[in-house]
């Protein structure tokens, strides 16, 4: 475990050094995007009741994490593969998961200010207040685990060109065609049924119902589903990373 932590902290340092020039830019883009979702979607939906406002304000931070985990990460992995970095990393004497964890830490950290910004913008725009539960912390971590796990899975399993296409489809899906920024009831039945098997609505639900706890309390199902997705993604990744020709 000491070896793991030592590797993790050194790799974290390495990743921060490597990305230090792009990180400030990423921070800004992520923050603007999260705030922009709240404001932009408010234009699309001219009349907003509390439900609409709640979905938009909690959907934005969810999309922020999805963007980082399932869009930026697969694209980054694809780029690393193309530049031969992958081969270089494979020869390093570090646990594979420590390597992923170090990367993921940086990317999730990039998304955090945007998530907070989205909530602040939402309270100002919709004049809404939330009943925030402390469970929001594990919720953020689990949504991140799910998104990052799937993101790495895509990045490592798919060819670089394909990974780019898939990640673009995911962001469109998350923004427009998933019950993240609006309730699932607005979708056709068959599509709502499909979403029962996809991670998006559980990500949105975990965030929404910990930021503003419903009368029935925080549900367990989204947490379980997200943990399963995250672990499945990491399992695929670990398998590919340790595979020997």
């Amino acid at each position: 475990m000491r070896h793991w932590l030592r590797s993790y902290s050194l790799l974290l340092k390495w990743t921060i050094l490597r990305l230090r020039t792009t990180l400030p830019f990423m921070f800004i883009v992520q923050t603007l995007m999260a705030a922009g979702i709240v404001l932009g979607f408010a234009f699309l939906i001219p009349t907003h009741d509390r439900v609409t406002a709640l979905y938009l304000s909690t959907g934005a931070p969810t999309v922020a994490l999805i963007t980082v985990g399932m869009v930026l990460i697969p694209q980054m992995v694809a780029q690393q593969k193309l530049r031969g970095l992958f081969d270089y990393q494979r020869a390093m004497p570090v646990p594979r998961l420590a390597m992923l964890a170090a990367d993921a830490t940086v990317w999730v950290a990039v998304a955090l200010p945007g998530m907070v910004a989205a909530l602040v913008v939402a309270t100002l725009r919709f004049d809404i207040s939330f009943a925030v539960s402390p469970l929001v912390v594990p919720a953020v971590l689990l949504v991140a685990l799910g998104a990052v796990g799937i993101g790495y899975g895509i990045g490592y399993a798919a060819k670089p060109e394909l990974a780019g296409i898939i990640s673009n489809m995911i962001i469109i899906m998350a923004l427009m065609f998933a019950p993240v920024n609006y309730p699932a009831e607005r979708l056709p039945d068959w599509f709502a049924a499909v979403h029962q098997w996809l991670p998006f609505q559980y990500m949105a639900q975990a965030m929404r119902e910990t930021i503003d706890v419903p009368a029935t309390g925080v549900p367990a199902l989204p947490f379980l589903v997200l943990a399963a997705w995250g672990l499945a993604g990491l399992a695929v990744t670990a398998r590919i990373m340790t595979r020997r020709a």
């Binding site: 050194l10 340092k13 031969g84 081969d87 270089y88 004497p93 570090v94 646990p95 020709a245």
Partner: protein, 323 residues
């Protein structure tokens, strides 16, 4: 023996035999040079030692332990400088070397000390604080070398460390390779640079199409060539070159390529041969000539042939031309 490889064979799915029954040993403190054409199986061999590629058959032992069963052990014990350029975007050589030494297990103090040592030894100071994307290929390669050499573990393997590196720093690099050996590390050095490698290695293994075709010290590989010299002549024109090739008192057939003639001669006949060459030059049949010891490169080329088979050279028997 620190590194023992026995009967190692690696076949890829497409049926290519990248390594074919390779056996070799490297002891602590020894520098082994691995020579061979592109595709001779050198990189595949290194990747198997470090646990990234699984052998089809045969065994590898690093200090008695098996990297196939325990690849994490192999990566800890062996440092590898892969052939690909190191990922240095955004990172300076100093940061890269020091962080990699720490990742490989060095204490903070040792990592800093080794980084300083290597930067000084390879004269990298002017670029030590320049980010990777602004470095030349040679400096990047040297940085990658230092990243592996800073905390080398017990076995360190360099895959073509001198590519793109200038001649002065190549020499400094070979010194560091020798220093690693002197410090008790087992060193495996893959290179195309046959002549220069001779300065750094104790033993050489020559690979061709996945097989070991020669194995020994540079002196052993020279073998019968040790008491031979090599005469090189640039003739006035091609027909003259062919004619001259038959005139030399050679121990083996001459090789003619265009106007160039290369002939192995016995050390004893060197004086007479030189006088003959001088006469030819005075007569205007030869532009220039030289006599040198047979280099390891000659031995290497004789063993594995030139890159594209015979190239433009053709062997000329003297009998045929003496007529």
């Amino acid at each position: 023996m620190l590194l023992e490889i026995d009967g190692l064979t690696k076949m890829y799915k497409k049926g290519a035999r990248a390594n074919d029954d390779i056996s070799l040993e490297v002891d602590a403190g020894q520098v082994l040079g691995l020579l061979g054409h592109n595709g001779a199986g050198k990189t595949t061999l290194l990747n198997q030692v470090v646990g990234l590629v699984k052998p089809t058959s045969g065994t590898i032992r690093i200090d008695g332990r098996d990297p196939v069963a325990d690849p994490a052990m192999a990566r800890r014990v062996c440092a590898l400088q892969p052939q690909a350029q190191a990922p240095l975007t955004g990172i300076t050589p100093r940061q890269a070397i020091e962080t990699m030494a720490r990742i490989r297990g060095a204490s903070r103090q040792r990592a800093r000390q080794r980084t300083d040592e290597l930067i000084e030894a390879l004269e990298l100071a002017p670029w030590a604080s320049t980010v990777g994307e602004k470095l030349s290929g040679g400096v990047q390669r040297l940085t990658a070398f230092c990243m592996a050499a800073a905390e080398p573990g017990r076995v360190v393997m360099f895959d073509e460390p001198t590519n793109d590196v200038d001649p002065v720093r190549r020499r400094l690099l070979w010194e560091q390779v020798r220093a690693l050996g002197a410090a008790g590390v087992a060193v495996v050095l893959v290179t195309h640079n046959v002549i220069e490698a001779e300065r750094a290695v104790q033993r050489l293994v020559i690979l061709d199409q996945g097989r070991v075709v020669a194995h020994g010290t540079p002196a052993e590989l020279r073998g019968q060539d040790a008491d031979r010299l090599r005469l090189e002549v640039v003739a006035a024109d091609e027909p003259t070159a062919h004619r001259l090739a038959g005139d030399v008192d050679a121990v083996e057939p001459a090789v003619v390529a265009g106007r160039r003639v290369a002939v192995p001669i016995a050390t004893g006949t060197a004086t007479a041969t030189l006088a003959w060459a001088q006469e030819q030059r005075d007569a205007g049949r030869v532009d220039e000539f030289s006599v040198t010891p047979v280099s390891l490169e000659d031995v290497y080329i004789r063993l594995v042939g030139t890159e594209n088979g015979a190239d433009a050279t053709e062997e000329v028997g003297h009998a045929a031309l003496a007529a």
